[in-house]
């Protein structure tokens, strides 16, 4: 399988950390917070879409919520495939860093 891109890796990790609360808004808030950079909506949602298509996360929609004007939330959870991909990147990082600094 192709290696994760840096953006995919960051978003996957963020979703993992957010656990049960991983839907669009907090994902974006958290990643902006952690990286200290501006992430546009498109930049986040596009990658999320791609992760779903690759089967690294699954999306599940909540029931419509009154406080959101009757709109549902889409929650993301990492799949086993997602975990494996993260592991792979991590090992790779370690291998690349070994012996340095």
């Amino acid at each position: 399988m192709k290696l994760l891109s840096r953006k995919e890796e960051m978003l996957l990790l963020t979703i993992w950390k957010l656990g049960d609360n991983a839907y669009g808004v907090p994902v974006r808030e958290r990643i902006v917070e952690t990286t200290g950079r501006y992430w546009s909506i498109g930049a986040v949602y596009d990658v999320l879409d791609r992760l779903v298509r690759k089967g690294l996360i699954v999306a599940q929609e909540s029931s419509p919520m009154a406080e959101r004007g009757g709109k549902a939330k889409r929650y993301f959870t990492i799949t086993t495939l997602g975990h494996e991909a993260l592991e792979e990147v991590k090992t790779l990082h370690a291998a690349l860093w070994s012996g340095l600094a």
Binding site: G24, V25, S40, G42, G69, K71, A72
Partner: protein
């Protein structure tokens, strides 16, 4: 994180609309929820302004991605279209080849003709003042004759400049041949022009070195190209040197080289390598209204209107011409009535040349129009092929169309797909066409006497034309098939029904008929041009033009040397006879004069030649009344032989006019000539013109041409003998000879060239039409496989089936013939009007064309038809 909803927080309404438009329906719900939540967070913490700013920022960031993505998919689709198109080409190699080849031939032919036409139209346009330079011409109406005379005397230019303030400048140009002595002390003949100094300022003929303003000012000045300088002086750097030219009665005279000329562009209506100052001529040669031997060009002011000048023709003729003309005209004739001054734009000279006395070989507007039409027709035939074959093969694509429609392609997309397919094919064809042009261009240039290069096609506006031809052909050829294909109903198609409409058959048939109409018209035209040119070549001229050698002497030759030369030549058995005369048949220069019978009243304009006693015999002319000139009659030193036309013009008959006396009333000497003989009319101009009255005066002292009839056989040996004898007797005269038949044919260069080009392009168009017919035939045979199978099972024989298949195509061809005949008749009748002697458009021509077209059609179709009728019925019917 708990959301903090608030009823007071409402993002702008349009944002929801935008999201709905850009997002997939299943995403819209979630995304708009998320957006609302974030917006409200900001709204409550930072206020409405901040929230709205954030929204705008997000939109600014993400909106550009939408068209980018759209474009991406578009390109993906086009990639898919191309892939499918290539697959189709590969799957149906024969059809692809026919289609592409047909289009390529069509395009190549069309582009070649385009280049040719462009070159023809470019003549004389390169002059900076091209639009304000005119040639002074006279239009003459005298009795029944009418003609344009492009030559003038030396006085016209100055008169124009003096009389009319609109005339800025003028230049006189005379083209002549001279003999010069080169640096190896060899006499050489060279065509030159004599012109005013203004030649270099009115026209764009730049000098490489020398002072253009004064280069042709002084008498005995010459400018020449570096090539000519190298040829005659052995150096390209000849400025300031002198050139030895036989001038005034053949004396060698030194001309000063005052300028080195850049080569004259090919698309100039007159060409020269050398120009001498016209002031080198004697004053009396130039200062006359009567001796019309040169061309006068005037340059008008930018604002001037040439029509205003032409309108003042009456006063010009009255002021300048009436006086000098009067002695030569019958008293009752008003010069202003018979002569009108005309101004011809120089850019019009090449395509609308005068019939007589034109400077050099020019083109013809008719050819340009005819060839342009052929170019369009060839392309049209190729397009029709394409349309026919594509619709015929539409059934094969029906499933694809059905499937595409089922998965969501709308009609516009399919149109786009099929059009991009045809444009692709047109592009492939164009590449093949360009290669074909590159390969055939040298041959085409040789044929058409042009110097067209492929790079002409790829520079500036022409590349746009090429692209336009690709697009127009692609779209024109693709539009109907695209509409037709995209109209398939998916349900019907996927169920296995292909449409077999009567309308489609009719459409294809009428297209094929149009193709054949064009082809048949071209066949008839080619046959007509061929026949006419054959007539021109083989027409009995009234004299024997074969085996006649003409030696051109530029100056009158010394008679004390001519006689011994003649005697020596005639001792050889290869030389049968020899004559000396001022003119020869097929020549363009004439002099005419007013003649009257001594006992007659009326004056007549008659051409005059000077001949010696041997002329009529040498040319093998037929005497129909009286006798030939003869040394046996001492009175024959003032005798004349007329042609038949002259006898009739003088109001008599060939028999009755013998013995009468002819008089030139206008000339002071009042010389009288006894009419001793009348010859049968012979063609002494080109066959474009009627035979006019001619008087051949017995004046052996005025000559310029030596005609020698030789025995057929080893002509080269005879020529060597002639030349060595010539050099022995006339060491300072170059031996310039030509064969009379060749010289006469050279007058028809334009027509002969046109005939060849015609033949090639009508051949091409017929070929393209046949390709189409072949494709259609093979399709039709395929479509009828089952029908043929059933017919065979029911007992039909092969001839019957074959006949059945051929009948369809022969019908088309017959219909085409019927339509094409009147069309071809009309066009060719018009073309033939250019000739005074012309063939009649007999029915046989049309029947031959019909037979040819039918034969070609049947030959094209026969193979396919035979294959279909020989097929085993069991194979075609086993699926039923």
């Amino acid at each position: 994180m708990p959301a903090r909803p608030s009823s007071s927080c409402h993002p702008p309404v349009w944002i929801n609309w935008l999201l709905k438009k850009t997002l997939k329906p299943q995403d819209y719900n979630v995304a708009s929820g998320d957006l609302l939540e974030e917006y409200c967070n900001l709204f409550q913490n930072h206020g409405k302004l901040q929230a709205n700013l954030w929204l705008l920022k997000e939109i600014g960031h993400d909106i550009p991605a939408i068209p980018a993505r759209h474009l991406y998919w578009r390109i993906m689709m086009i990639k898919n279209y191309l892939k499918v198109a290539f697959r189709n080409l590969k799957r149906q190699k024969l059809y692809a080849a026919i289609n592409i080849l047909g289009l390529a031939i069509g395009m190549a032919g069309c582009l070649l003709i385009y280049l040719w036409v462009q070159d023809e139209l470019s003549f004389d346009r390169y002059h900076t003042h091209a639009d304000s330079i005119y040639r002074v011409e006279r239009e003459m109406h005298f009795r029944d004759t009418h003609g344009i005379i492009p030559v003038t005397g030396g006085t016209y230019g100055e008169a124009y400049q003096m009389d009319y303030p609109e005339v800025e400048d003028y230049v006189r140009v005379d083209d002549l041949n001279i003999t010069l002595l080169d640096h190896r002390q060899v006499f050489r003949e060279q065509a030159i022009i004599a012109a005013d100094a203004t030649l270099l300022s009115i026209f764009d003929f730049p000098l490489e070195s020398g002072d253009a303003e004064f280069a042709l000012d002084a008498p005995l000045s010459v400018v020449l190209t570096a090539e000519a300088a190298e040829r005659y002086l052995g150096t390209r750097d000849a400025l300031g040197k002198t050139l030895s030219i036989q001038w005034n009665n053949g004396e060698l005279t030194d001309f000063n080289i005052t300028g080195i000329l850049k080569p004259v562009p090919r698309n100039s209506h007159f060409h020269f390598e050398m120009a001498i100052s016209i002031a080198s001529f004697s004053e009396q040669r130039l200062n006359t209204w009567l001796n019309n031997f040169l061309y006068t060009y005037i340059k008008l002011k930018e604002t001037a209107n040439p029509a205003d000048l032409e309108a003042q023709s009456h006063s010009f003729v009255k002021k300048h011409l009436a006086g000098p003309f009067a002695p030569y005209l019958p008293e009752d004739v008003d010069p202003t009535k018979i002569c009108q001054m005309r101004l011809k734009p120089i850019t019009a000279i090449h395509l609308n040349p005068s019939k007589q006395w034109e400077i050099g070989n020019q083109g013809s507007k008719t050819s340009v129009v005819i060839f342009s039409a052929i170019a369009v027709l060839i392309l049209l035939i190729a397009c029709i092929n394409f349309i026919n074959l594509s619709t015929a093969k539409a059934g094969k694509r029906a499933l694809e169309v059905g499937l595409r429609k089922t998965v969501g392609a709308h009609r516009g997309l399919l149109l786009g797909q099929f059009l991009s397919e045809t444009v692709l094919m047109a592009t492939i064809s164009a590449v093949i066409a360009l290669i074909a042009i590159a390969v055939t261009l040298p041959a085409f240039n040789a044929l058409s006497a042009k110097a067209i290069r492929l790079s002409h096609l790829l520079n500036g506006g022409n590349i746009l034309i090429v692209l336009a031809i690709i697009c127009v052909t692609g779209i024109l050829a693709g539009l109907y098939p695209a509409f037709y294909l995209s109209s398939f109903k998916p349900a019907a198609v996927l169920r296995g029904e292909t449409r077999k409409g009567r309308t489609r058959q009719t459409f294809r048939r009428s297209m094929a008929v149009i193709q054949f109409i064009i082809s048949i018209t071209l066949i008839v035209s080619t046959l007509t041009v061929y026949r006419q040119m054959n007539l021109v070549q083989n027409q009995s001229m009234g004299f024997d033009k074969e085996n006649l050698i003409v030696v051109n002497t530029l100056q009158s030759i010394d008679h004390s040397r001519y006689q011994p030369f003649r005697n020596e030549i005639l001792t050889d058995s290869r030389c049968l006879s020899m004559a000396y005369s001022s003119n020869r048949p097929g020549e363009d220069s004439f002099s005419d004069s007013i003649y009257r019978l001594v006992d007659g009243e009326e004056n007549h304009v008659v051409h005059q030649w000077s001949i010696d006693y041997h002329f009529v015999n040498t040319y093998g002319m037929k005497i129909i009344a009286g006798r030939n000139l003869s040394t046996a009659y001492s009175t024959d030193s003032s005798a004349v032989i007329l042609n038949e036309a002259a006898a009739i013009e003088l109001g008599s008959t060939p028999e009755e006019i013998i013995g009468k006396t002819l008089l030139r009333p206008a000339q002071r000497d009042n010389q009288e000539f006894t009419i001793v003989g009348v010859v049968e009319n012979f063609n002494y101009k080109t066959l474009h013109m009627d035979i006019e009255p001619l008087a051949m005066l017995s004046q052996p002292q005025f000559g310029g041409e030596i005609s020698i009839r030789i025995a057929p056989g080893d002509v080269r040996k005879t020529l060597e003998y002639l030349e060595s004898t010539w050099m022995h007797h006339f060491p300072s005269e170059p031996f310039n000879f030509y064969f009379l038949d060749e010289a006469i044919m050279a007058r028809y260069t334009q027509e002969l060239r046109m005939r060849d080009i015609f033949l090639i392009f009508s051949g091409l168009s017929i070929m393209v039409a046949c390709l189409g017919l072949f494709g259609l035939a093979s399709y039709s045979a395929q479509e009828k496989t089952k029908e043929i199978g059933i017919r065979k099972v029911l007992g039909a024989g092969i001839p019957h089936i074959l006949g059945n298949l051929l009948k369809e195509f022969t019908q088309w061809v017959m219909i085409s013939n019927i339509v094409a005949w009147p069309l071809a008749w009309y066009l060719m009748n018009k073309w033939l009007q250019n000739f005074a002697t012309r063939i009649s458009l007999g029915l046989d021509l049309f029947i031959i064309a019909a037979v040819i077209s039918l034969a070609i059609a049947i030959m094209t179709v026969l193979g396919q038809a035979l294959k279909a009728s020989l097929a085993q019925p069991v194979k075609s019917l086993k699926y039923e």
